[in-house]
């Protein structure tokens, strides 16, 4: 496959995934905060087509798990009542993009059955619903942090590369300093200093933005490299000879050279920051309950009891792998494409 085709395929996949996540309310059967205290840590519901009597049903159905309560593992499926899966059911209300509400879900089962495609967590909440809703939060976090990182990195790297000399020295030493410091404290401090009135969302976005701002050093170095080589180019010298100002040169001639690197960096950084959000959540700095970021979904894996008994809690982590793969493929393709563009 050519690089262009690879890139296109990756972008289509990502667009599809973003759509899925944006319209999460429709695609999932339950609200992300709906607790079911009778069924904590229930395993995923298996889809059946053939029932206990051997009869084939065209419409798939599930058996709903019994109350797990004091047992080590939730007891096996209650084979008495099958719950057929219905499509386009009415369920809990949700908002799409904060604008319009609906209560139609793609699929669901009748009460009191519960269809758990990825099992349930410690409060009996459906992991599948939380995974897609969580995508909204985590993907947004990754995007915002990457944006901040690359923006600040471009500014600093551009200035350093363009002006050179002692400005360059200072900025590059500064970037080494930045890479070495224990930034966790800053995040703890910011979190601790915020007033109680601020909503969870705002806290989270603030922390994510700070995380992104802290990471300017690596993009800055790359941009600086590109700017350094770009400013040597003949056409830049020529333009300067015609009397172009620094700002004009930067804007019209130098910076456009960096777009390739910028885009590649963004594509590489988004998955990294999604992972960073997971780490922040592990340390207690993530978005608060009951919001379902991917970090929140995975944080229960810190406990050995969950890790060894409830294999389905691993699923969000496994689902991240193909997602990241797509990002890296896109980044690879971008890198190849941008390399072959004559400068």
């Amino acid at each position: 496959m050519t690089h262009r085709r690879k890139l296109a395929a990756a972008l289509v996949f990502l667009a599809g995934f973003y759509c899925l996540v944006l319209f999460a309310g429709f695609f999932v059967p339950y609200d992300f905060a709906a607790q079911n205290r009778e069924m904590p840590f229930a395993p995923p519901s298996a889809l059946h087509f053939v029932d206990a009597q051997g009869k084939f049903h065209a419409r798939p159905f599930i058996y709903s798990a019994q109350d797990a309560s004091q047992e080590a593992t939730p007891s096996d499926a209650n084979t008495q009542r099958p719950y057929p899966i219905h499509f386009f059911v009415r369920g809990s209300h949700y908002k799409i993009a904060g604008l319009f509400t609906s209560n139609v879900h793609l699929f669901g089962v009748d009460d009191p059955g519960q269809i758990l495609l990825m099992g349930s967590d410690a409060y009996g909440r459906d992991q599948f619903s939380r995974f897609l809703y969580g995508g909204q939060i985590s993907m947004l976090a990754g995007l915002i942090a990457a944006l901040f990182s690359v923006s600040l990195g471009t500014i600093v790297g551009g200035i350093a590369g363009y002006y050179g000399g002692w400005i360059d020295e200072i900025l590059m030493r500064g970037s080494e300093l930045f890479l070495a410091l224990p930034w966790l404290y800053l995040l703890f401090a910011v979190r601790a200093a915020l007033p109680l009135r601020i909503s969870q969302w705002q806290v989270f976005l603030l922390l994510v933005a700070i995380m992104g701002l802290i990471g300017w050093a690596r993009p800055a170095r790359l941009i600086r490299g590109v700017v350094l080589s770009a400013k040597q180019r003949n056409f830049v010298t020529a333009a300067r000879g015609f009397g172009a100002s620094d700002a004009y040169l930067l804007r019209k001639h130098v910076l456009p050279q960096t777009y390739g690197v910028l885009l590649t960096q963004m594509t590489l950084l988004i998955p990294q920051y999604v992972l960073a959000e997971v780490t922040l959540t592990f340390l207690g700095l993530g978005v608060g309950e009951p919001m379902p970021s991917w970090g929140a979904l995975l944080s229960s894996l810190q406990q050995y009891s969950v890790l060894s008994s409830y294999w389905w809690m691993f699923l969000p982590a496994l689902l991240l792998i193909p997602l990241f793969l797509v990002f890296y493929t896109a980044a690879d393709a971008l890198q190849e494409l941008h390399k072959s563009v004559p400068l």
Binding site: S69, A72, F188, R191, P195, L196, Q302, Q303, S305
Partner: protein, 592 residues
């Protein structure tokens, strides 16, 4: 020297002869190595009542983190205390099984009529683990160190009665007298855990003023001596500390065997409870002390296959609770919280919240059923003091709504609760991010209260930031916290219930009680402090518990069960609900 009166001279002569006679070689006994002919009075051993075992074997334990010091005066953290307990002994000891005091280094004692003087008779002929003799001078020295303000030992706070530190005087080589400023009901319990230090090793460093550097983990085994069942053999930083049998230990079983049975105890350091569980499960550790309910389920599956046994001892002494900020916020700049205090201070509001909380759900989801729901601070594990007559009303949202209505609250169209002024009721619950169980409780409470119509936000901060808000800045609205009573006695948590107490969490350090019922609690707690009769004390403390459950300064939630595990090769294992749950009788443990 003053002339000694005649009678005393005669006594001295008799003693001197007895002294000379005691030079006869000690009778041979089992595992008696290292015992040279006694050069002092015959050893007065304590005879234990456990089933006799045989000597030998090594016990492996995984500690949740590295001990910070081996200095009993400075140890604040549990791992240090765990190791120190195996190396030292106290004068009077609390038997963890019965939760009552009993003789240890002091074989008997008398209490004066006014309850202010305790005269203790020490066992004679005992030696430290390096062979040096033990007598009253060591006791005097130890208490001098603990009470010295320059040493800043946290033990000092426990030895202050009626505002004054206790004093100790030596009556003779084996008798000491303690003076208290006022009669103290839990006086005997004071002595538990107060390790007796060897004067011959520590006096110089104490006089030099370098005591705070003494007995850090970098000491050599030869620099350490104690009266506990084991002595220090080796410390490898970051990995393990190895203890070996103390040949001079002063206990024996009723068959005449010298305790302890174990040759060695190895404490390995692991970073977390999960790592402890993993070690135990794989057989690399023999004992697992106090682990969480989630791990119980995991371990239970393999009990038979892996050859260990798990124990669910029922409720312990921990109580978790939700409380509201009732502090005086005058000087602090938090006007929003001050406005909300109008709700928090209304008893009916707190009662409604308490009624809406699903305690059974908490027990089931947070502790997998291995906990007890609580309605007041006396946990069922505190058998001697918990008031069983306190009512346990079941969860009722209707009752909660009635209470709110009678307090002037109402509901709007979409179900949110509005206060009498029409403001929607919204507040945040603060909790420490490092405690997963309390975070879960807060999440469940959030959901419960949303069913009532209140919008609750869970704010989890790093632990120190949480403490800062609770005790210094008062910048919080509600919080979920937990406390583990240091002892099964009301005086252990005095600072929580006294108005002026520093851990009087909902209204820290009030100069004088803010409400009538808090004044009543103060009075009752002070009274029980000096009441020596158990029945009368129980009445007083029962009343305190009633007042707490009526006025809800804290809304108690649940008390986790004490869960312990041991390999089948460990015999005489008798876990208890008071720390150190599994190893309190380590001298009685042996390997089958």
């Amino acid at each position: 020297m003053a002339k000694v009166p005649l009678r005393k001279q005669r006594v001295a002569l008799v003693l001197g002869i007895a002294f000379a006679c005691s030079f006869a070689p000690a009778a041979p006994g089992q595992a008696n190595e290292g015992r040279t002919a006694a050069s002092g009075p015959t050893e007065e051993r304590m005879i234990t009542d456990n089933a006799p075992g045989h000597a030998g074997g090594r016990l492996a334990v995984a500690l949740r983190s590295e001990p910070k010091t081996l200095n009993p005066a400075l140890a604040e953290d549990e791992p240090s205390r765990d190791v120190i307990r195996c190396l030292t002994a106290d004068l009077i000891h609390i038997n963890r099984s019965s939760l009552k005091t009993g003789p240890a280094l002091a074989k008997s004692w008398r209490v004066s009529r006014d309850g202010k003087q305790y005269t203790l008779q020490l066992r004679r002929g005992l030696r430290f683990s390096d062979g040096q003799p033990f007598n009253a001078d060591d006791v005097l020295f130890s208490f001098q160190v603990y009470l010295d303000e320059k040493v800043d030992s946290s033990q000092r706070d426990l030895l202050v009665v009626g505002g004054k530190p206790i004093t100790v005087a030596k009556l003779d080589d084996y008798t000491v007298r303690f003076e208290l400023a006022q009669p103290y009901a839990a006086a005997e319990r004071l002595f538990d855990g107060v390790a007796i230090l060897p004067r011959h090793l520590l006096e110089t460093t104490y006089r030099d003023g370098t005591f705070s550097k003494a007995w850090s983990l970098s000491i050599l085994p030869s620099q350490f001596a104690g009266l506990g069942p084991f002595r220090l053999k080796e410390y490898v930083p970051g990995q393990r500390v190895v203890l070996e049998r103390n040949p001079y230990y002063w206990k024996a079983d009723h068959a005449g065997n010298h305790l302890p049975y174990l040759d060695e105890v190895v404490f390995s350091f692991v970073p977390s409870e999960d790592a402890q569980v993993i070690r135990f499960q794989s057989g690399e550790a023999d004992v697992l002390s106090r682990f969480s309910a989630d791990n119980f389920a995991v371990l239970q599956k393999q009990q038979l296959a892996k050859g260990y046994h798990l124990y669910d001892l029922g409720a312990g002494l921990e109580y978790n609770f939700l409380f509201f900020n009732l502090n005086d916020l005058g000087s602090k700049n938090v006007p929003d919280i001050a406005k909300k205090q109008a709700w928090f201070q209304d008893l009916r509001f707190r009662q409604a919240v308490s009624s809406a909380i699903d305690r059974e759900g908490i027990v089931r989801l947070v502790y997998s059923g291995r906990a007890t729901p609580l309605w007041n601070q006396g946990t069922p594990g505190d058998k001697l003091w918990a008031d069983a007559a306190i009512p346990h009303p079941p969860r009722s949202l209707d009752h909660a709504r009635q209470l709110l209505q009678s307090a002037g609250f109402s509901w709007n169209k979409d179900g949110s609760v509005l206060d009498p002024h029409g403001t929607p009721v919204e507040f945040s619950i603060l909790t420490s991010s490092s405690n997963a169980q309390r975070m879960k409780m807060a999440t469940i409470i959030q959901d419960d209260l949303s069913q009532l119509g209140m919008k609750v936000q869970v704010v989890s901060l790093e632990f120190r930031a949480t403490v800062d808000r609770l005790q210094n800045t008062f910048n919080y609205e509600a919080a979920v916290m937990g406390l583990v009573s240091g002892d099964a006695d009301p005086t252990a948590d005095m600072n929580v219930w006294l108005s002026g107490g520093e851990t009087h969490l909902w209204h820290v350090g009030e100069p004088k009680p803010a409400t009538q019922w808090e004044a009543e609690i103060d009075r009752l707690m002070q009274q029980q402090l000096t009441t020596l009769d158990y029945a009368k004390r129980k009445q007083l403390y029962d009343r305190v518990q009633e007042i707490v459950s009526e006025n809800l300064p804290v809304i108690c939630l649940a008390s986790p069960n004490i869960l312990v595990g041991a390999s089948n090769r460990v015999a005489n294992f008798r876990p208890a609900i008071l720390v150190p749950y599994a190893l309190w009788n380590i001298e009685e443990l042996y390997i089958r």
